[in-house]
């Protein structure tokens, strides 16, 4: 069996009394695009910095190619990082920035220059090679930072929220640049972000972190469709999270009764809860349906329409149930025109049995 490129084994990182990363275990295979996602302070950047050797784990081991890396200093690792601040050297030109890593590896001056220019050309910024960093735009700096890291031909590239300083249009452009690069080079990208859209748009696998722990690891689709717990369900958003007390348990199903009604969902991978526990399940907004006539389904919540939000062809309807809780339905704009919501005083949110996703007891 081939060892994974990177392996975190029970890694803990403490700063004085503060535990930044607690018992983190995961592996990254060669050639994967992995995103580490979570809110600020969840330990994602610390995890990345430990991989680069800029922080030492307090406990546990980090392995690369099966070799324990804990005692290997940062400058002996081939783990270039693209900083959130970019960290380009302001006293060097774009080309000299790109040459830096090559010079450190003892590459001759002429070869440094040739390879640096080749990468600047590949990043479509060769005309700015001799410019000062300060005179470049945000997007151009971004490309210099990428060239500087990739010119040393690493097997793994670490990215720490590299797109957070760019405006929305540029973010989309750079996302496609990054995914194309990753595919062409076939190297591993580890991408830290707080942005769900960036992570889901680019990554093969997403690691969601919360308070130093890993909440879920899976493909973007897994995480979107089958959040493992309440934190992931809330973080991913666009979900209706319905809570209630467990009134009945059966093989593979559980009945939850709350202020919105009594519903039965499948437990899936989760352990069966006990009667009386407070449990939750999720109905994704785009899997919920809305109607003005009461549907026959067992999963119905009567509610009233509060507001609508258009994003292109997608409409999100915000609804209020009788107990005051807010619910969401997402649908295509042309589907909405079939439902006459304007005249109706009461609407009904419903879902098919298989779309109720149980997320356990907390």
């Amino acid at each position: 069996m081939v060892a994974p490129l990177v392996e975190f084994r029970s890694v803990v990182k403490r700063f004085d009394d503060f535990v930044a990363v607690e018992d983190v275990n995961f592996t990254i295979d060669a050639g994967e695009f992995v995103a580490i996602m979570g809110p600020s302070g969840c330990g994602k950047t610390t995890t990345l910095r430990m991989l680069a050797g800029l922080e030492a784990p307090s406990e546990g081991n980090i392995l690369m190619d099966g070799r324990v890396m804990n005692d290997v200093p940062a400058h002996e690792r081939d783990t270039p990082l693209v900083w959130q601040s970019l960290a380009l050297f302001p006293f060097l030109t774009a080309r000299e920035n790109v040459e830096f890593g090559l010079q450190m590896r003892g590459v001759g001056a002429a070869e440094c220059r040739r390879r640096a220019l080749e990468w600047l050309d590949r990043m479509e910024i060769s005309e700015f090679a001799e410019r000062d960093i300060a005179s470049l735009s945000g997007g151009q700096k971004q490309r210099v930072a990428l060239a500087r890291s990739l010119v040393i031909e690493p097997r793994i590239l670490l990215l720490d929220e590299p797109l957070s300083a760019l405006d929305a249009n540029l973010v989309i452009r750079m996302q496609s640049v990054l995914t194309r690069l990753q595919r062409e080079l076939g190297i591993t990208f580890v991408y830290v972000t707080h942005s769900q859209s960036e992570a889901f748009a680019m990554a093969d696998r997403v690691v969601i972190m919360s308070r130093g722990h890993i909440s879920q690891i899976g493909s973007p689709k897994d995480i979107y469709r089958a959040p493992a717990n309440r934190f992931v369900a809330e973080f991913v958003g666009r979900n209706n999270i319905i809570a209630g007390a467990v009134t009945k348990t059966a093989a593979k199903t559980v009945t939850i009764e709350g202020s919105l009604g009594s519903f039965t969902v499948q437990t899936g991978q989760h352990d069966a809860p006990r009667k009386g526990d407070v449990a939750r399940f999720v109905v994704a907004a785009d899997l919920a349906q809305i109607s003005v006539k009461k549907p026959k389904s067992a999963n119905v919540i009567p509610c009233s329409l509060i507001s609508e939000e258009f994003i292109g062809s997608i409409v999100t309807l915000f609804l209020e149930a009788e107990d005051g809780s807010e619910l969401k339905v997402q649908l295509q704009e042309r589907e909405l025109s079939k439902v006459d919501l304007k005249s109706a005083t009461t609407t009904y949110l419903s879902w098919a049995d298989e779309h109720g996703h149980y997320i356990g007891v907390d």
Binding site: H75, P80, F89
Partner: protein
Amino acid sequence: MRTFSIFKQTFRLPIVLWQSLFFIGPLCFTVAMSFFIVRNYRMQEDFVMKNWAKMLGRDYFWDSYFLTWGLAGIGTIVTMTVAFPAAYTLAFKVSETVRRWAIFMLIIPFFTSYLVRIFSWYVILAESGVINAGLSYLGLGPFVMLNTKFGTVVGYMTLTLPLVIILQTFALSNVDRSLVEAAFNLGCRPFRTIYRVILPMARTGLIIAAVFCFILSFGDFVSPYYLGGSKPPTLPILIVDTVKSGQQWPRAAVVAVVMMVTLFVVAFAGIMAAYRRRVG
């Protein structure tokens, strides 16, 4: 259209007055005085080149000039070198609290007169002083340290070292940590990072520290007089000697003007180098 604001002018006036009364005025007078003449030990207004020709034409003036340059230059190099590891440690290796206390401790020497601190070196550097007593246990010495160029440089450093450490610490503290980490990340060894990243980033502050150090040493009278033995004289000593021997205020003014011009050039060149946009 510009409006004359009394409010703004009121704030500008004190500094303008101060500078013209106590800097520009005396400076102009010194320059004018260098063309005056001394008759029967009395100075008279005149416009002759004699003082300039006399001073600049003498070897002892130029010996003194280059000696002052040499001592201040060596003092600056030694001070900058000795200060750097200390400043580097304070800027990068210690906690914020330790840094604050260290800066505070470095200010304390300025509480006492520089002259008093210079005299305390007698106890340490004298032939029967602390250092020679210590060395005699090892069967070495005694070494003559007072009334030597070594003594002068030690004196200069007494004046400049705490200030230079403080200025260097501020210069290094402003270096963006992520740039240092970026250098490590790209394979740069910690020692190499100092001259590849930290020195270029801290350049402005470090040059200003060196300029300060040079200016303070170049114009210092106390150290070369009391610890350097005043022979051969540095320029500040030469000024005093020239005045004492025959009331030659105009010739002393020549020395003073030469010193001023030298320091203007050094300070200007230093500032230009410090703020030049790119290296090499």
